[in-house]
């Protein structure tokens, strides 16, 4: 394997796939021509949609105005009556005819005229209003929910006598939903009404007393920012289109580089080479993702151009339009999406024997992927935490929310993390399928081999096995840890629930999976004693005394580092921002749980369960391909990420301390070849941290001195010394160990 990963060979393999894809005119067609053609067309269609919706609301609907009291209601009725009279007198406002086509989203005070273009004949037709009465709060809510289009919060009517003529000066304060077509249309209707009356009175005064109207009517409107039905759903259309176009870019190379190999008759020669299938597939994957990302870039650029220069951007996203910043946020999402979808495409196409067959597999998948796309178009569907793990839908929802500026951290993190895991697992499946069919001449062996229990025992799980297990584990883990929060179990029960969950997901399931895949369980999970074969008893005891002493020393120093790392993250404001009151309540809740329960469920249980998984299964899986050093690093990274995701909040502050702990225990596990010293270290570490948090600030002040936040320098020095001693003891006592060849 390594000769394919080094000397730039893998890169040369990728180059071949890229050349093949990019020299093909069909790839270039989707890459360049499609965006150029599709977006202007799409923007024209959308513009029609915006205008169409607008004219529709104007023509045949009744708008609801909310008022707080009867007086305002009567004043509005009076205004509307006057408008009716004005129209029945055949008065045509000289101004309103000329005012057409004001861009939506511009200063509402100016947009007196029509919202859309054309349709001037209806200019002075009376907009129908219905008046409802309620209190201030419920009106505000009704406005937000779209039950009323306008809320008139204040209205004054001053009668002004100008010689023989009495004019009425209206002053109206209204609230409307910004960027909502219905609400803005209602506002425009009201504005038109006041303007009409205003113009009529001005005309009367000019005719009869030859004076100018002294007081103009005012309509002050305040927009409330709410995502609106139409622009919200159009903001949903854009990511959908972008994603569909990205898929389109990836489809052709995916088919061409897999099923195409069979069609050209190069597959046999390819799989007859000693190159590992994963290397072959990885190079194809790199090419497909590259083309997909290039397509995404071309599409993103075209979208940006269309939105910026077509005026649609302002209509949909307000004054600032579709900003470069939004673009930069969407791009990484498209890259992650492309990585995920390319893996799916490759897996499907690897299974196909010909171009036609591959297309037959892909069409249903493309249609299915429209499903989540339609869900994102529904503005009422919120991107909740749990949706964060639904493949495809999560990225679509996230990009929609980024476009409307409403993304939140937890589902975003879940979406990105889970999509990466799914992509890895799918790629592993693709690599196993690729060429398998060609090798087994049409028998079903490839599929069944993937799912069924292997016939032969294997020493360690491989990385593919890990990827597949993670893809199964993560959604379950995520849902389960959110469930814990939803059940709102308090006190000891919550701690027990957590412990049971950890045992199930990190201990029993990995063991079951390892058994099913016929992985050597004692070897993988390092269940051996970490001593040499046929070692005399005293020597064994010497080793174990050393392991325990070393681990105790390590734990004495590690918790301080973990604690300071936590403070470091907190100082960067990355920790969960909690109010003092909430912090106090959490502490009270924590103190209410008996300490033995905390130790059992918060220190011993996680230590056992997590060690089995992270230092057993995960570390061994990495170890099957990578050096000890890298394996420890990668397994610790996963260890850290899983701790960040735990529960329904994102605990970024846990990331660094957990990684440090992971590296330390990883070292212990590989050095001693046994899981048990690590379990002891993990238990001690958690126990110490929880133990420290039992104390009040006054207690801490006694030991720490005035700065109760940080650990004193003398303590830290002692801790550092303990770590050095621990490492030294472990190093010496684990020497000449022969049972495991594994070492750092």
């Amino acid at each position: 394997m390594n000769e394919y990963l080094s000397n730039g060979r893998l890169w040369r393999l990728c180059q071949k796939e890229l050349r093949e894809s990019l020299r093909d005119r069909r790839t270039l067609f989707t890459l360049v021509l499609m965006p150029i053609l599709v977006y202007p067309l799409l923007s024209m269609a959308l513009q029609r949609l915006v205008i169409g919706a607008n004219t529709k609301t104007k023509a045949d609907t009744e708008f609801v105005i909310g008022v707080e009291n009867e007086e305002t209601a009567n004043q509005i009725r009076q205004l509307l009556e006057e408008v009716e009279q004005t129209i029945s007198r055949g008065f045509v406002s000289p101004i309103s005819i000329t005012r057409t086509g004001e861009p939506k989203g511009a200063d509402p005070a100016k947009s007196l005229g029509d919202l859309g273009q054309g349709d001037d004949s209806r200019q002075d037709e009376l907009t129908k209003f219905k008046i409802v009465m309620s209190n201030q709060d419920s009106l505000a809510m009704a406005l937000r929910d779209g039950q009323v289009e306008l809320v008139v919060s204040k209205m004054t009517v001053d009668k002004i006598q100008l010689e023989k003529v009495v004019v009425q000066a209206y002053e109206i304060r209204a609230e409307f939903r910004q960027n909502d077509l219905r609400s803005e249309a209602a506002l425009a209707g009201l504005r038109r009404a006041t303007q009409l009356v205003n113009d009529f009175q001005a005309e009367q005064i000019r005719k009869r007393v030859d004076r100018k109207l002294p007081v103009a009517m005012t309509l002050r409107a305040t927009g409330i920012a709410e995502r609106t039905d139409l622009s919200g759903s159009i903001a949903g259309v854009i990511p959908l289109v972008l994603i569909l176009m990205t898929i389109t870019g990836a489809v052709y190379p995916a088919i061409d580089l897999t099923a195409g190999e069979r069609e050209r008759g190069t597959m046999e020669a390819l799989i007859a080479t000693p190159a590992p299938r994963f290397a072959l597939l990885l190079s194809k994957y790199v090419a497909v993702v590259t083309v997909a990302v290039l397509t995404a870039l071309a599409n993103l650029f075209a979208t940006w151009m269309t939105l910026s220069f077509g005026g649609l951007g302002q209509a949909l996203f307000g004054k600032s339009g579709f900003s470069i910043w939004t673009l930069l946020q969407i791009l990484p999402l498209l890259v992650i999406f492309a990585s995920f979808f390319s893996a799916i495409l490759l897996a499907l196409c690897s299974f196909a024997r010909s171009f036609k067959e591959a297309q037959a597999y892909l069409i249903p998948v493309m249609l299915l992927s429209l499903g989540p796309g339609l869900v994102t178009l529904m503005p009422n569907v919120q991107f909740t935490t749990l949706l964060g793990i639904v493949p495809l839908l999560n990225i679509l929802m996230l990009s929609r929310d980024i476009m409307t500026g409403q993304s939140s951290l937890v589902p975003a993190f879940a979406a990105v993390f889970s999509t990466i895991i799914y992509a890895c697992a799918t790629l592993v499946v693709a690599a196993r399928l690729f060429g398998a069919e060609a090798a087994t001449s049409g028998s079903q062996e490839s599929w069944s081999e993937l799912l069924s229990r292997p016939k032969k025992q294997q020493m360690l799980p491989d990385l593919g096995e890990l990827a597949i297990y993670l893809a199964l584990l993560f959604p379950v883990f995520f849902v389960a840890s959110n469930l814990g929060g939803m059940l709102e179990w308090k006190g000891s029960w919550a701690w027990f629930f957590n412990a049971v969950l950890l045992f199930l997901l990190f201990l029993f399931l990995p063991l079951a999976y390892a058994w099913y895949r016929r992985v050597d369980i004692p070897h993988t999970f390092r269940l051996g004693g970490g001593v040499g074969i046929d070692e005399p008893l005293f020597r064994r005891m010497f080793r174990w005394v050393g392991y325990v002493a070393g681990v105790v020393c390590l734990s004495a120093g590690l918790w301080m580092i973990a604690f300071e790392a936590y403070l470091l993250f907190e100082s960067w404001s990355l920790a969960a921002q909690l109010s003092e009151e909430k912090k106090q309540r959490l502490k009270t809740d924590f103190l209410a749980v008996p300490f033995w329960i905390v130790l059992l469920t918060g220190a011993v249980a996680p230590a056992i369960a997590e060690e089995f998984f992270f230092r057993g299964f995960v570390l061994s899986a990495f170890r099957s391909k990578l050096s000890g050093f890298r394996s420890v690093l990668f397994s610790s990274l996963l260890f850290g990420l899983f701790h960040v995701m735990a529960g329904s909040v994102l605990s970024i502050e846990k990331f660094l301390p957990t990684i440090i702990l992971g590296i330390a225990i990883g070292y212990v596990a590989i050095r001693t070849g046994s899981l048990w010293p690590g379990i002891l270290l993990h238990t001690l570490h958690n126990g110490l941290i929880f133990g420290m948090s039992r104390f009040t600030e006054q207690d801490l002040a006694k030991w720490f001195g005035n700065d109760t936040k940080h650990i004193p320098a003398t303590w830290l020095f002692g801790g550092g010394l303990a770590i050095v001693m621990g490492v030294a003891i472990l190093f010496i006592s684990s020497q000449q160990r022969r049972i495991h060849e594994d070492s750092i």
């Binding site: 000769e3 394919y4 000397n7 060979r9 040369r12 393999l13 071949k16 050349r19 093949e20 020299r23 093909d24 050209r264 008759g265 190069t266 046999e268 020669a269 390819l270 799989i271 007859a272 080479t273 000693p274 190159a275 590992p276 072959l280 090798a439 087994t440 001449s441 028998s443």
Partner: protein, 252 residues
Amino acid sequence: MISAENLTKQFIVRGVPLVAVNHLSFHVSSGEVYGLLGPNGAGKTTTLRMIMGLLEPDSGYVEIGGLRSNSKSTDIRKQLGLISTSDGVYPWLTVREMLMYFADLYAVDQELARERLKELASLLDLSNFIDQRCSTLSTGQKQRVTLARGLMHDPPVMLLDEPTRGLDVVGSQAIFQFIDLLKQRGKVVLLSTHRLDEAERVCDRFGLLHRGNLQFEGTLSELRQATGKQHLVDMFIAFINAPHANELSPEA
């Protein structure tokens, strides 16, 4: 150099077990051209796949240069070259790019690969079109590229799977010359074909395969002696029961 011992492979086709290769044993040494002959469906391709380690035999094993073939072993595949009926080329790559790509797939050192490419270009007369894209090549040129592809890693063993199917006289002639070349270089050549007339021209020894069973093995004179027939075609028909004889026509 190649020895197959008791190779057996059974497939389940729509729930019915089908023995594709049944206790097959044979041996080929360096510089020898061995013809694995049989009608379509005799088990030739399955045998070749087991040799390459693409298929795991149900029982028995293949040994090449002392290494046992299995699906995990990549070392054994470096010993093998494969040229097959349906071999294609990458239309968008140039000849040079394609051959260098295969050198990489066999983990051949870049410097060495460049030298081999030069040598093969003159040997198989590729120099005129070596920097052209494969899509622009004629059938004959593509065939030469395929032959060069099989030699880029200079394997001691060459497997030829129906190399002349679909070729005209000139194309077939090129294959025969190629086999001669391999022989001169002391390679082990395993030729799988149903073209018995062609096999007669180039092979040193033969194994007649029918329904997964090796019916007979030996040189042409040994076969003639044993069967009393002059040509392979006649021998084959004599070996196999009459109801199956129609499968034996060379163009079947």
